[in-house]
Subunit: 407 residues, 2 copies
């Protein structure tokens, strides 16, 4: 059984993701699709709309066969650490290829861009340093430095977010020599950050989230952009837990945390550096919402994403010493189709990392992920909170039946 890997967040799973899964399978000729998915908190440093369990279920109904959790130590990190974690999970799970969506849509430009960068390494790093010193954010410095190297037209456009992410996946594959074959497909229609719907069935997750929060009860407006299963699972979540999660739900906790911590304590938190602890404490004092707080603290130097991640690490009380990333240490199974289950049974002994399907047996290993689930549940009210909290330990991997009779 051949497996293709995908790196996902599914916040929430929509028709564009479905297209990606179908294409990944078709173009790779794989029998199954293995997804590595961020847990309850995402790469941009924000809570997922719905829990990892609900999103894993959406992924399974949408065509994934196995869903593994990308550990917090990788998920809430910048793109290269995120890629290291994701690629190491997919390699350990036995994938033969990895397929990602990009604006470029063909893999050669990724390979040649990496070669070009390797040949201009010193110059490139020097330029990044220079732009950084001028006060540009890291991603902006990278993109400006790349431009300044005058790449020819066959190379990637590094102002596009999915090209950058894809480049990190290919680089991570090279770094870990994991023998995975990188593949890419062109993203359909909607740009990653598009806030407005641009076609009748494809919309970005950003625009869908915006609709979910702004339209309140009028959920029909997003129905055409999601597989029916995703829509149903979203509605079920809201009914069961009372809301979709957003940073605002955690703002009282973050504000409290900032007000009761000393600057010295804050400075031990991952990514809190360069005196950021004073800036954050001071500005938390009179902000009455997370958005207001973010507007107060943002500068040209720090991207919104970077600051959100800093806030998340503070909320989570994650010390610098706890974020020794490297590569993944375990495969945390969130869900499987019948085919996925057969694959696991067949390959159990050749997996590259220990398989964790019951967190209670691996509390130490999963400490950060368990903490993330606990903090995530605090965004809900009383009873809902307690129900979600219990899931982390009581929920076995989600299983769905499928028609593929397998092997």
């Amino acid at each position: 059984m051949k497996a293709v890997g995908v790196v996902v967040e599914y916040n929430p799973f929509h028709n564009g993701h479905k297209y990606h899964l179908d294409q990944a399978k078709e173009q790779s000729g794989a029998d199954i699709v293995i997804a590595v998915m961020s847990g309850n908190f995402l790469q941009r440093g924000e809570p997922a709309l719905v829990s990892k369990w609900a999103r894993a279920e959406m992924a399974l109904y949408g065509g994934a066969d196995l869903v593994f959790e990308l550990p917090y130590a990788f998920a809430a990190q910048n793109a290269d650490i995120f890629a290291d974690g994701a690629i190491s999970v997919l390699a350990a799970a036995g994938c033969e290829s990895v397929c990602f969506g990009s604006e470029a849509g063909e893999i050669d430009s990724f390979i040649s861009t990496l070669e070009f960068l390797a040949n201009h390494e010193t110059e490139f790093q020097a330029k990044i340093k220079k732009y950084n010193a001028l006060g540009y954010s890291y991603p902006k410095s990278v993109s400006l430095s790349f431009e300044a190297l005058e790449p020819d037209g066959s190379l990637l456009d590094l102002s596009k977010p999915n090209n950058i992410l894809g480049l990190q996946y290919v680089a991570a594959i090279n770094r870990h020599g994991s023998g995975l074959r990188p593949m890419t497909i062109k993203r359909k229609n909607a740009g990653y950050h598009d806030e407005h719907f641009s076609s009748e069935t494809i919309a970005s997750a950003t625009s869908i989230r915006k609709s979910l929060f702004s339209n309140g009860s009028n959920m029909e407006s997003i129905q055409s952009y999601l597989p029916r299963s995703s829509f149903h699972l979203l509605m079920r979540y809201k009914k069961h837990y009372g809301r979709f999660h957003s940073w605002e739900d955690y703002w009282p906790l973050l504000k409290y945390k900032l007000l009761q911590s000393s600057p010295e304590e804050l400075a031990t938190i991952h990514e809190v550096e360069e005196g950021l602890e004073y800036r954050l404490r001071e500005n938390s004092l009179h902000a009455t919402s997370f958005m207001e707080f973010m507007e107060k603290i943002k500068t040209k130097r720090y991207t919104w994403t970077r600051l959100q991640r800093v806030c998340l690490h503070i909320l989570m009380n994650v010390k610098r010493s706890e974020m020794q990333a490297g590569t993944a240490k375990y495969l945390r199974l969130l869900g499987m189709s019948a085919t996925g289950r057969a694959y696991l049974q067949k390959n159990k002994k050749v997996l590259g990392l220990p398989l964790v399907s019951r967190p209670s047996a691996s509390k130490d290993l999963l400490e950060l992920d368990i903490r993330a689930s606990r903090i995530y549940s605090l965004g809900l009210d009383g009873d809902s909170q307690d129900r979600l909290l219990k899931e982390e330990f009581s929920q076995p991997p989600i299983q769905i039946q499928d028609k593929k009779t397998s092997c």
Copy 2:
């Protein structure tokens, strides 16, 4: 001008307190009454119903001439440290006597009980240790040990809470040799912990608080137990800030704090000892209210009060190293009558400690008190929270006019 001192919490100020102030003045023959009052958090480890500003104003209208804040480092402590702080403030403020309410109602039994205990010191301490080892709480061990010493009938009844507290005041006066004259008056009618009203005008603060929380909008039921000014100030507070404070308002923050702290971090908090950190963390997980949590963690060994104080120190993130009590280091002025103001002007140069009337100029000194005010404000919602937060720095000492033309 002769001053008599009183040690108070006024949660809220009621007719019994008014009687105490009148008697203190009359029996001491003093010209003014100086109150040292707990700030936003009280000796029992709980938030005050309304802020220290509102309570200081009640005190002034009720007959106090100067109100100083008992610093957090003393206020949220067991009785002997509480007494050390309070007596050192009153001594530094120039009081000639201290008058406290007690069940005994005459001062000789306090003096002779202290003498008796000094004569039986070794035996007494050994017995306390023994009862403690049997699993009794500290206050219970003290009371049992005292009984076991077979004191004669002229000594105090140490099963009564105000006798115990009074004994600590007299002991603190002896310790600091501050030359204050101890006086006591018999408490009127209602016992300290009485939950039900027992006369037509005197009720315990406990029963008044219970009414305030349980009756909701029907505030008239408590009106006869409070001076009109107190009742008016309570109502104004609720209207202005939206609620009276209770532990339940802080429960989401305490739960969050417990879930995101490591046991090692918790163990650095003041009064978290003997492995209590594990007991607290574990039991916070599925408690959905503060009351439920307290019921889960309480044991024979730890009094409710002690555990509430532990919870408060955790909420406040107060490290053991921050609670170097000893005696007070400053006089934080919360309010004054015209007479009180004249007294201060006259005695400014002979005060035993620096007078702080603007916290912004003494941020380091007041760090714990400022933190307490910030955390206290988080019990309110959005705008109210911000308004209360600003008061800590913008509010000058409260001043009221009075008829006494002074000096």
